[in-house]
Symmetry: C2
Subunit: 285 residues, 2 copies
């Protein structure tokens, strides 16, 4: 009847909680085990309907799992995947929801490698969903519907992991694309990590006394800067090379805009603004 018997989620915040809610609402598993450090936080997630069981023990939480999804902050994902791998059944699949992939995948593969002739049962995932909000209270069952999830298989990923984890995200309503971990990090630097850096710089550069003179434009442009600073510190440090490259590309465009302003070059300014508008219009609101 259910597609999976047991789904285990390590880290039940906005993303982990939304996965649990979606699995439960779509009746994809008999039970959803939430694994976390804090009983209080797990109790909130259970009260919100995200999970059916709770435990602070990774070993206990994954022992009957068919699939484990690690949704903890980027810097600790590899340790949690390794801990889950040490205690879950042999045919259990492992994935994560981290915003960066290169460092995480290489660390996980280093930790799990060597004993897997048919390939590793871990594959990196990154659901392009979320918000500046945090915690299971902000979880939504439809968070992944119509959203892109990037899977990052490598040479050593088992075919069963690619197939099984893809089916998992598709079952939550997402669209799945495959990229290498390094291609993922280069792309997401431009589309997510750099925008966060820029929004944060814009917010920090605005004097407090001018905040009453902000309106919708400033609020939209800086919204993501309200995201958890520690989570974003980890993301940016985990994708330093990609973010620095995207930042250099951005600074080139910004510099052209500055020169157009300095020289009062109306046609150049108009052309640059039109180029930004063209890209933005391609996406809709």
């Amino acid at each position: 009847m259910h597609r999976w018997d047991t789904v285990a989620i390590i880290g039940v915040g906005l993303i982990g909680g939304s996965i649990g809610l979606a699995v439960r609402q779509r009746k994809l598993a008999r039970q959803v085990i939430g694994i976390g450090r804090s009983e209080a936080s797990l109790a909130k997630a259970k009260a919100h309907g995200c999970i059916t069981e709770t435990t602070t023990s990774i070993a206990k939480g994954v022992e009957k799992a068919d699939i484990v999804v690690v949704c903890t902050p980027v810097a600790s994902i590899h340790e949690h995947v390794a801990a889950a791998a040490a205690h879950c059944p042999a045919d259990c699949l492992l994935t994560d929801a981290g915003s960066t992939k290169g460092e995480i995948v290489s660390k996980v593969e280093a930790a799990l490698g060597g004993n897997s002739p048919r390939g590793l049962r871990f594959i990196g995932s990154h659901p392009l969903a979320g918000s500046e909000q945090n915690g299971p209270e902000a979880a939504r069952a439809d968070l992944f519907e119509g959203r892109v999830v990037v899977l990052t298989p490598t040479d050593v990923t088992a075919a069963a992991a690619v197939e099984g984890v893809e089916q998992f995200w598709l079952a939550l309503g997402a669209n799945v694309v495959h990229m290498s971990p390094s291609d993922h990090d280069e792309a997401l630097a431009a589309t997510s990590h750099l925008p966060h850096l820029v929004a944060s710089a814009l917010a920090a550069a605005t004097p407090d006394e001018l905040l009453p003179l902000t309106a919708g434009g400033w609020q939209d442009t800086t919204r993501v800067a309200a995201g958890d600073a520690e989570l974003w510190r980890q993301i940016l440090l985990s994708n330093r090379a990609g973010t620095l490259k995207a930042l250099a590309d951005f600074e080139k465009v910004l510099s052209r805009l500055r020169v157009a302003l300095e020289t009062g070059d109306g046609p150049l300014l108009a052309a640059l603004l039109a180029e930004g508008k063209r890209r933005r219009d391609a996406l809709g609101s």
Copy 2:
């Protein structure tokens, strides 16, 4: 019964149309005359309920006006105010809705000055409202409710203009603050003109092929880049000095973030992100 007999609006787009809608919904005037270059656009504004009369002649449109609000693009506002002043009644008040004030106010005062012993009946206004949308179809009667309108009186502004135009915006539900034109331009450079420049650069720096990998963060951060490129070219050129100063301040913060990334300085990165979050959190979503 009505507070004003005749309100004339030159330029009936999003802002002008919203002023008309608000005046009519609040029954503040007997008639609202829309003045524009295109009969077709005026007909749309009338059909949307923004105005009661239409004309393409400024001379005819303002001849019985109690107050004229010029809502045309920034570069043409001073000409339209001067044209209105030449044909409106002697006690008619004049204001505008431009996003910059220094250049507009000095050009208007140069055009109107010399024949006003009791001060000029023009005062600059900037309603901090709007969106990336355009045209009277996007107009909303509540656009100004609870929003800030900056008035920029100078040494030569008549007291009657300060008082009358303030009462006008208050009647539309706005909160009014007073600043000098140059203080306004310096402040709005940081809170509006720079965010537009940055959003536009971010959108333009994102390769087309990566657009499918954008999510809510990119969409929020770049939203204003969808604004009309010609309107924003005029705004940015009209406030070059202010925008360049705000850009320099932003580039300093961004540079500190770049150094923190380059050197892998986690504590510095965390501190800078926390500072951006603090400013953003101060405003709410």
